[in-house]
C-alpha cells in the first residue's frame, strides 16, 4: 500500500484533524537547538531565531525530509519569514507551501478570517492528497485526534504527580515532539510510552521563555537536579495536539476548530505580556512547581518582553523566577551550571 502523504508543519496553528481527515500525516518541523546553519539559509532569513534557520537549512540540504507539502504558520516572525523564503524558492524542489495566518484577538471579524484560513488549509491538504473528506473521514479524524488528547492527559498526570512524577521533563518533551510528527495512532503510542523516572529529591520547575525544538536543554537542565514538570511553550504543553471537533462536514469542523483556536494559549510571539505572565503563574502553580526557569535563546526576542511582568506576577505568588537569556549552544552549559543552586537560594526548596 502506498504510504500516506506527509505534510510538514512549521509552527503551532495547524489543527491536525484537518490534515488527517484529508488522508495525510502531519509532521511538525521544529528544527534543532544546535547544529549548522547553512549559508544560504542565513542569507535568506537574516536575523531570525536560529532554530528556524535550521529548519530551512534542513529543507535545502541533501537530507531534506520527504514531504509532499509544507504548511507554515504565521505564529512568529521567524516562521512568517520562512514562509516568504520558501515561496520564493519554489523552483528549488521545495514542495508546495501554504500559509496559515490566524488572528489572535477574538471577535466576529477575526472568527470569520480564521474560518477562511482553516477552510483554505483543508482545501490545500485535499489538493495534496487528492482526498475530499466525507462524513466518515471527519469522524475518523476526530476520533484519532481525541485519542491523542486522552493520551496527553494521561502523560500530564504521570508527569505532574506529587510528590514525584514518573516521567521526567525530557521524556515528556520527547514524547510531545514525537507525537506532533506522526499519525494519531502512533502519537498515542509515543505519549503512553514516555517514561524515565526523575529523582524524587529534585526541584520541580516550570519552564517558560523560548520553545524547545529538541530535548537538548532539558537534558542539560535535568542534570542539574531539577525536573521540568510543566512548561508554557508551544513545543511542550502548549503543542496543539489532541483537539478534535465532531462534525460531518468541513464547515462544522472548522467552526469548532476556530472556537478552539481562540480558547487556547499561544507562544510568546503572538501573546500579550499579560497573557504570558498569567499563564506562566497558573501553569507553574497547577503543576506544583517550586520555581520557574525562564530560558531564552539568542535570536528569540518575544520572551524577553515578558520576563519583567512574569517576575512580578510570580513574585506576588512567592514563586522564584530564575532567568537565563542569550542562550547559544556554546554558552548553555555554563549558563545552566548553577541553576539549581540559584533556584534553591531564591526560595525554591524541595517540599
Amino acid at each position: 500500500m502506498r504510504p500516506a502523504p506527509t505534510i510538514g508543519i512549521v509552527g503551532n496553528d495547524v489543527p491536525r484533524q484537518l490534515v488527517s481527515a484529508a488522508g495525510a500525516v502531519p509532521r511538525r518541523l521544529t528544527g534543532s537547538w544546535s547544529g549548522p546553519i547553512g549559508a544560504e539559509a542565513a542569507a535568506h532569513l537574516g536575523a531570525v531565531d536560529p532554530v528556524t534557520a535550521r529548519i530551512l537549512t534542513e529543507l535545502l540540504g541533501p537530507d531534506a525530509p520527504a514531504l509532499d507539502a509544507i504548511v507554515v504558520c504565521n505564529d512568529s516572525q521567524a516562521h512568517l519569514r520562512l514562509f516568504y523564503v520558501l515561496r520564493m524558492l519554489g523552483d528549488r524542489g521545495i514542495p508546495p507551501v501554504h500559509l496559515v495566518d490566524l488572528p489572535r484577538q477574538e471577535d466576529a471579524a477575526t472568527r470569520r478570517f480564521a474560518q477562511v484560513q482553516f477552510t483554505r488549509l483543508a482545501e490545500f491538504c485535499s489538493r495534496v492528497t487528492g482526498v475530499q473528506p466525507g462524513s466518515s473521514a471527519w469522524r475518523r479524524a476526530a476520533a484519532g485526534e481525541r485519542a491523542v488528547g486522552d493520551a496527553l492527559t494521561r502523560l500530564r498526570g504521570r508527569r505532574r504527580a506529587q510528590p514525584a512524577g514518573t516521567v521526567s521533563g525530557t521524556a515528556a518533551l520527547q514524547a510531545l515532539l514525537t507525537a506532533a510528527s506522526v499519525a494519531p495512532e502512533d502519537a498515542v503510542l509515543a505519549l503512553d510510552a514516555a517514561e524515565e523516572e526523575p529523582d524524587a529529591a529534585s526541584l520541580r520547575v516550570h519552564v517558560t521563555g523560548s520553545n524547545h525544538p529538541d530535548t537538548a536543554l532539558y537534558v542539560a537542565l535535568e542534570r542539574q537536579g531539577v525536573t521540568v514538570v510543566s512548561e508554557d511553550h508551544d513545543t511542550g504543553d502548549l503543542s496543539w495536539l489532541g483537539v478534535a471537533v465532531d462534525g460531518d462536514d468541513l464547515a462544522t469542523v472548522t467552526q469548532g476548530l476556530v472556537a478552539a483556536h481562540f480558547r487556547r494559549s499561544s507562544g510568546s510571539a503572538v501573546s500579550t505580556i499579560a497573557e504570558r505572565a498569567s499563564l506562566c503563574r497558573t501553569s507553574a502553580e497547577t503543576a506544583g512547581a517550586q520555581g520557574v526557569l525562564a530560558l531564552v535563546r539568542a535570536g528569540d526576542e518575544a520572551p524577553l518582553w515578558d520576563l519583567a511582568a512574569s517576575a512580578t506576577v510570580l513574585g506576588a505568588a512567592g514563586m522564584p523566577l530564575v532567568r537565563r537569556r542569550g542562550l547559544t549552544p556554546e554558552n548553555v552549559e555554563a549558563a545552566l551550571a548553577d541553576i539549581a543552586a540559584e533556584l534553591r537560594t531564591r526560595g525554591g526548596e524541595p517540599a
Binding site: A43, S76, Q77, F83, V116
Partner: protein, 416 residues
C-alpha cells in the same frame, strides 16, 4: 552645486516644531492625543479631530537628538530589553526621561496608543504603553502578505482587492470600524464619514504630487536634491497626511524640485556615482549621506521615503473605511516582502539610474536577500549592511561609513 537646503524641508521642519509645541499646549489643556504606529490608520484620527504622533517619527527625533542610548537605558531599568526592536521601543523608553532631557520638551502622555500586531514584539511594546496611567491601547491584526504579486504599483491604487486579497481587507475594515467605535466611546465624538472621504481624497492628492516629484527626480541628472532634504520634505507631510497643509507641502516640494532642475542645480557638481539607500533612515548620522560626495562624487539620489509616498499610499474607492483598510493592509509588505519588494526596488533603481545600492538590513525586515539578488541580477552592485538604524551603537559597530567607502572603491566604478 547647491549648498542651500530645500525651502520645503526647512518649512516642513519648522511647521513640525510649531505643530508639536501647539500639541503640547493643547494636551496640557486636556485635549486627547493618540500615539500611533506608522502602519495604523491615521486618517480616522484626523477625521475625528484627534491629534496624533507617529512612533517612528518620534523615534527618529529621539535618535537625531542623540537620546537613543538614554532612552534604551530606561527600558533596561524597567526590566525590558534594550537590544530588541529598538526603533519601535525608543519612544517608550524616552517617555521616562526627565523632561529637561526629553527631545522637544517631551511627548505629552497620550490618551490612546494604536498599532497593528506586526512582528513578535511591537504589540507588546504598545501593550506597555497601555499600562501607563493615562493611555489605552488598541491593537489591530496584521495579516501576512498572501498573495504577494509582483508589479503591484500598477494596480494598487484602484485594484487593491486583487493586490491584497479581499479576506485581508475584510478583516482590517471590520477592525477599523471597531477602532472608530472605541474612539467614539472614549471621546464622545462621532466620525463623519464624509469628512473621512475628504481626508482620503486629500491623501490621494498628496500622493499624486509625490509621484510627480519622484518621477522628476528619477529623470534628473545630476541629482538636484539631497535625500537628507527630501526625507523631511516628504515625511513630515506624510505624518500630516489628509490635511490641506500636507497637500500644499507636497506641492511645494514638487515645485521647488522642478525649479532646481530647471536651473540645473546639483547636490554635487561632479556627480560620478548615483546611489540608492534601501532601508530606514540613519537618523543618528544624517551627515553620512553627503560624506562621499567630495572623494567619490557619490550622491544618494534615492530613499524609500519619497518613493513609497509616490507608489504606496494612493487608494481610490467608494467606501472610505474599506479604502483606508486597503491603504494599510499591506503597506509594510510592499517595502519588505518579496517579490513585492524586490520587484519594486529594481523598478526604482532602473528608473533612477543608480550605479550602486547601500542596503541597510534591519533585524525585522524579511526578504532582504531577494532584494539584493534581484538588483545584482540586473547588474547593480549592492552593499548589505546589517544594523539597526535607530541604535547608534549598532551602526557604529557596523562601520557604515568605512564600508560604504570600500564598496565605492571596489564595486562601483565612476561614470566616464
Amino acid at each position: 552645486m547647491t549648498d542651500g537646503r530645500l525651502d520645503s524641508a526647512v518649512a516642513a521642519t519648522a511647521y513640525q516644531r510649531e505643530w508639536f509645541q501647539g500639541l503640547r499646549e493643547a494636551t496640557a489643556g486636556g485635549a486627547p492625543l493618540a500615539f500611533v504606529n506608522a502602519d495604523a490608520p491615521h486618517e480616522i484620527l484626523r477625521a475625528m479631530g484627534i491629534p496624533y504622533v507617529v512612533n517612528q517619527w518620534w523615534a527618529s527625533v529621539i535618535a537625531a537628538k542623540r537620546m537613543g542610548p538614554a532612552s534604551l537605558a530606561r527600558l533596561v531599568a524597567a526590566g525590558l530589553p534594550d537590544d530588541s526592536r529598538q526603533y519601535d521601543a525608543l519612544a517608550l523608553g524616552a517617555q521616562d526621561l526627565p523632561s529637561e532631557e526629553a527631545p522637544w520638551g517631551g511627548l505629552p502622555e497620550p490618551s490612546f496608543a494604536i498599532a497593528e500586531r506586526g512582528g513578535d514584539v511591537t504589540h507588546k511594546i504598545f501593550e506597555l504603553w497601555g499600562r501607563r496611567p493615562a493611555t489605552d491601547t488598541y491593537l489591530l491584526s496584521r495579516t501576512a502578505a498572501d498573495p504577494a504579486p509582483a508589479g503591484w504599483w500598477a494596480d494598487v491604487e484602484h485594484r487593491w482587492e486583487d493586490v491584497f486579497g479581499a479576506d485581508r481587507i475584510d478583516l482590517l475594515t471590520a477592525e477599523i470600524h471597531g477602532l472608530i467605535g472605541w474612539l467614539e466611546e472614549r471621546t464622545g465624538r462621532v466620525l463623519d464619514h464624509d469628512r473621512l472621504a475628504e481626508v482620503m481624497a486629500l491623501g490621494n492628492e498628496q500622493a499624486a504630487w509625490n509621484r510627480r516629484t519622484r518621477d522628476m527626480l528619477a529623470a534628473a541628472r545630476p541629482a538636484p536634491v539631497a535625500v537628507t532634504d527630501s526625507i523631511p520634505s516628504v515625511m513630515v507631510p506624510q505624518w500630516h497626511r489628509g490635511s490641506a497643509w500636507a497637500v500644499s507641502a507636497a506641492r511645494r516640494l514638487h515645485d521647488e524640485v522642478a525649479e532646481r532642475i530647471e536651473r540645473g542645480d546639483a547636490v554635487h557638481p561632479d556627480e560620478r556615482r548615483r546611489l540608492m539607500w534601501i532601508g530606514r533612515g540613519l537618523w543618528s548620522d544624517l551627515e553620512m549621506y553627503r560624506s562621499f560626495q567630495e572623494e567619490f562624487g557619490a550622491v544618494f539620489v534615492w530613499s524609500m521615503y519619497l518613493a513609497i509616498a509616490a507608489d504606496g499610499y494612493a487608494r481610490y474607492g467608494e467606501d472610505p473605511v474599506r479604502t483606508l483598510a486597503a491603504r494599510f493592509v499591506g503597506l509594510t509588505d510592499l517595502l519588505y516582502v518579496p517579490p513585492m519588494s524586490s520587484s519594486w526596488y529594481v523598478k526604482e533603481a532602473l528608473a533612477h539610474g543608480v550605479d550602486g545600492v547601500v542596503h541597510l538590513v534591519a533585524d525585522d525586515t524579511p526578504g532582504a536577500s531577494f532584494i539584493t539578488a534581484a538588483l545584482e541580477e540586473r547588474g547593480i552592485p549592492v552593499l548589505e549592511i546589517r544594523a539597526n538604524n535607530a541604535d547608534s551603537r549598532s551602526t557604529q559597530n557596523a562601520r557604515v561609513g568605512e564600508r560604504i567607502a570600500g564598496f565605492l572603491r571596489t564595486r562601483v566604478p565612476a561614470r566616464g
